[in-house]
Symmetry: C2
Subunit: 303 residues, 2 copies
Amino acid sequence: MSIKQNWIEFIKTLQNDICIALEELDGEKFLNDEWKREEGGGGISRIISNGNIFEKGGVNTSKVFGRLPETMQQAFNVSESKFFAAGISLVLHPKNPYAPTVHANWRYFELYDAGGTRIDSWFGGGSDLTPYYLFEEDAKHFHSSLKKAIDHYGEELYALFKKNCDEYFVNNHRNNEARGIGGVFYDYQRPKDEEDAERLFAFQQANANCFLNAYLPIVIRRKDVPFGEKQKHWQEIRRGRYVEFNLIHDRGTLFGLKTNGRTESILMSLPPTVRFEYNYQPEPGSEEDKLLQVCLHPIDWIN
Amino acid sequence: MSIKQNWIEFIKTLQNDICIALEELDGEKFLNDEWKREEGGGGISRIISNGNIFEKGGVNTSKVFGRLPETMQQAFNVSESKFFAAGISLVLHPKNPYAPTVHANWRYFELYDAGGTRIDSWFGGGSDLTPYYLFEEDAKHFHSSLKKAIDHYGEELYALFKKNCDEYFVNNHRNNEARGIGGVFYDYQRPKDEEDAERLFAFQQANANCFLNAYLPIVIRRKDVPFGEKQKHWQEIRRGRYVEFNLIHDRGTLFGLKTNGRTESILMSLPPTVRFEYNYQPEPGSEEDKLLQVCLHPIDWIN
């Protein structure tokens, strides 16, 4: 079976497994929205709203193919081509401000010439954590879970992809403030040959399969910590930064919106309630400021 | 005195007049933030937060000049140049969902060659209304106030600039849904000669001077209408669309953020509290749906 078919099967199973685990923890069910793409393909969006733990979230898969849109031709520096892309994207926004938001995405892309011959293919993906309050224990757990999963494929990879992540999820209109404490992020991982494709596929699976272990223990630890209006207010301020990053800078979001993607599935990433205040600054030295400082100055959480 | 100097004086006086009128109505004062731009110029941001009527708002002026950034050289199709730009921008977000949000901006731009000779200049601006509930009376009042102010300068202008506005403030990622019920929007109004410059200056003043009469009577009518959670919820959903437009599509916002503008002054336009829900649809035929329908199908409010 081709990498393509295997990948489609993999993300379908992963979507189910992740939703089952989250439903078990939350008690609330995900709704199921299937959609078709006129130009080829479609997707399944699974959405949770007003859960007991998760105020809003989505675990979406999509498989799209057809003629490569012109905007993408420019981006990939090719002429008239066909493409195939399949991936899984998830974002979870817990209600409790002490529990972090998480985002992950794993995707596979194939590019064909006008005659249908495959001319390129690559994997991309990553997961990153956006806490509202800093618990070093949580940051270390998240990062070391990712590192452990990746190390087998090259001991230099975690550091490299961690740096990518720190550089990517950044509001450069806000003094290069990161949206959270990062994780890993990689793109254009191109198989050199059949064997390498198997290796990259396994690498991708290792990343995806470690997600639940990287994230759930953190949520379980924080979901019932008592909080008040002050913490909710700060969470909503930081969620504002999340919105700014996703709508101003995130390539995936903008690409999706500008190439006629399914808006509701793309924007499931936006937080449920958000607050924008003029020039809001946390008190220096406060718990809120401690979080802000690690967003301004990314930390090496493992060494 | 040059157009440039007159314009700077005009927006300074207008900023004061508008703030005084709004403070008188609201009871709360605007704070005053002055800022300098490293490359030349600066601005005065006047911000209201948690007022009695206005939950959040700003009335900002700026005057910036210097070397034209490279991104702008491309946009204006010129090589190494200098520029001068001065304008006033305002956004007001009332607390009461029955009172509409309003946005207005009036600006003047000059472009010089590397030697400092003026090679181009233009006026731009407009005002538009974003209600959460539709009151035809309000829509008619707002549009006819603008028309009355503009008609003197050409009877075809209102219709033309109203159409510009309907086409500009649109979330094209949401089935071309307008963010509100429009107003007028114009750009690149270039003086042909000295006399024409006077005429355009007067046209610009007429637009700006009609603002308070176009907007305040509407707020006064709606500010004390009783509302409940349902109306606040809908207001916050629609404010989400406002955020989407400003961060994804608005040229002024993106231009400011990407050319190292003052982030807090640019993003004062974002609403105070916002809600994003997956695939939220108002009930067909409801008051909420009535508003949505005029956003999807712009109305000619005057004839």
